[in-house]
Amino acid sequence: MKASGCAGRSIVRVAAFALAFGVFALSSCAQKNAGKKLYIYNWTYYTPDSVIEKFEKEYGVEVVYDFFPSNEEMYAKIKAGGSDYDIVFPSGDYVSIMIKEGMLAPIDKAKLKNFGNIDQSVLGRCDFDPGNVYSVPYYMGAAGIAVNKAKVPEFERSWSIFGRKDLAGKMTMLDDMREVLGDALKYKGRSVNATSDADLALAREVVEKEWVPNLLKFDAEAFAKGFASGEFWVVQGYAESVYAELEPARRGDVEFFIPKEGGPMYIDSMVILKGSKNKDLAHAFIDFIHRPEMYAEFVDAFGFPATCNVPARALKKGPAWYTAEALEACELKADLGAALEKYNAIWQEIRVGK
């Protein structure tokens, strides 16, 4: 699950995208696609403009790129029948929901020359869509912890950092129940998808008794801004958000790590909606993303490791905030169905505070 976009930043991005795609990409090759449009519904700024422009040029099509800030919002919009998107990028739990609800078209792997580039271990983890009948992994990642080393020189790479009283009032965690409760569950050696009352009570106690007293707030909107300005010293969040706000010169002062206990992890996938009118073009786009050089360009834009695409790892030029190995201890968030209600009840009480 990608960072729920920063409200401020996304406005700028919408404007940037509007400019980028307001101009028609004209092309001389691939005449058969002339005038065609590919509608993509993706997380706020999750595919670099440069990659999309290259696709437009090569195929002579126009890509229309819309954003969503959360899976819930994306799902509600598509379920309401609002739009005719071709490709959507849901997280694993929502892939399984959308399959169950019959919203997806099967993927024709014969059309994907680059499917073989995808890491087998990632494919093996796609329990939400065994055999990848309906989905192709786009990125596998996890939220982690960013630490301002100038203010906090010594620290353990563990969730226990949120229990440090000397950092009270300088730390934030995501305003996201699956993340925070999942962290506490992992910290206590339980599954991030635990649904037993005992496990959840344990997680609640860790969050309420050990962590919350030291937190300044729960923040999924502006944590990266606050971290970049020096306001927050330790934040739980998404690497790409931290990376985007931080001036390159200051990146040396910051360490981003995935705690050794692991945490909740996500695989965001590309799926084709049943109602898509451009299924061939949609397959072409998915295949294009998994060209090693394109995938490398994508992950470099966000400081990601090339988790899903093996040959891209050699082509990648930039550094990554964390390694693919760091994700080994992490666990994929599954759809909890009706058990989600238990998480809701606990989370509401944590959020209400004192």
């Binding site: 409200a7 401020g8 406005i11 959360s70 819930e72 919002e73 799902y75 509600a76 379920k79 309401a80 929901i97 609800e101 009032g169 996201d176 129940m177 919350v212 937190l215 300044l216 707030k217 729960f218 909107e221 502006a222 801004k225 606050g226 300005s229 020096g230 306001e231 169905g337 009706a338 989600l340 809701n344 989370w347 509401q348 009480e349 959020r351 209400v352 505070g353 004192k354």
Partner: protein, 329 residues
Amino acid sequence: MSQPTALLPSCERRTARRRNYGPLYAAPQTLWLLVFFAAPLGIIVAYSFMRKGLYGGVTREFSLDAYRALANSSLLQVAVRTLLVSLTATALTLLVALPSGYAIARSRNQAMRLFLVIVPFWTNFLVRIYAWIAILGNEGFLNDALRALGIVADPVQFLYNQWAVVLVLVYMYLPYAILPLFSTIDKFDFTLLEAARDLGATKLAALRRVLLPNIKGGLVTAVLFTFIPIFGAYAVPLLVGGKDSYMLGNIIADQVTKTRNWPLASAISMTVTALTGLAALVFLYRMREHAEPSLGEELLPEPHAALATFSDASHGASGSFTGLAGGAR
């Protein structure tokens, strides 16, 4: 036989003209309100009585689950907190708005001052919240200044608590209180104050017993215009609040976007709407009842008069703000 009828029409047409065209003239507005106010409200009412869908949305069966879920101690706690924050913020807003409105009404440069009150509206709401974060942050302008002046050694934690929420809310809704107050104070006959002084009232007593009762209408409007939106505040507590700043607006948003419980979100909204609507009605009614009869109707401006002035004022912001002072008179 066409002659006589040809003579008739003009007078017949005149009687026809006297038919009530009111509803016809009001049709665009009625349609607008139906489509953008009544219909959405109807949907919210309907959703609040349905069962929640497993993955968001609703299933179409009647259920009182959402209203049963309202009786929940944490919800009640948030409701009380929201009420306290709203009351504090409204009281502080009035405390600042009253002298401001008075000063503007008495100044010779009304247009300019009103213009300055409206200027912040030109900047996006979210951008102004982020501006406050830049001012109040530990590394912000205010702390930098305090440190440079040697007043404090360590930064003061201004942000991420209830007071930051109240401060930014007061800032956001101040114009909504200043404008109606200004418009009623402006209509006030200030020679009444002199008369009161001549009759032996102290300066304060004159303001309290002559001015205040006369600007009740403006006060009512100012309270309604600040309290109601503050009660539903969402972005301000989210961005400048701390871990204990969760308000009703945040619960409603989270129920829709995160926990997939649309009926509960609808039920909370309905309850809030019903309660604030009721409170506003009672408030208006009581204000009217307690108004001293000697004041006369002219001296007790109706809230809607202030409202009209207010909308004049907001139009002024988009262009001819010179017409603004005129409109207020």
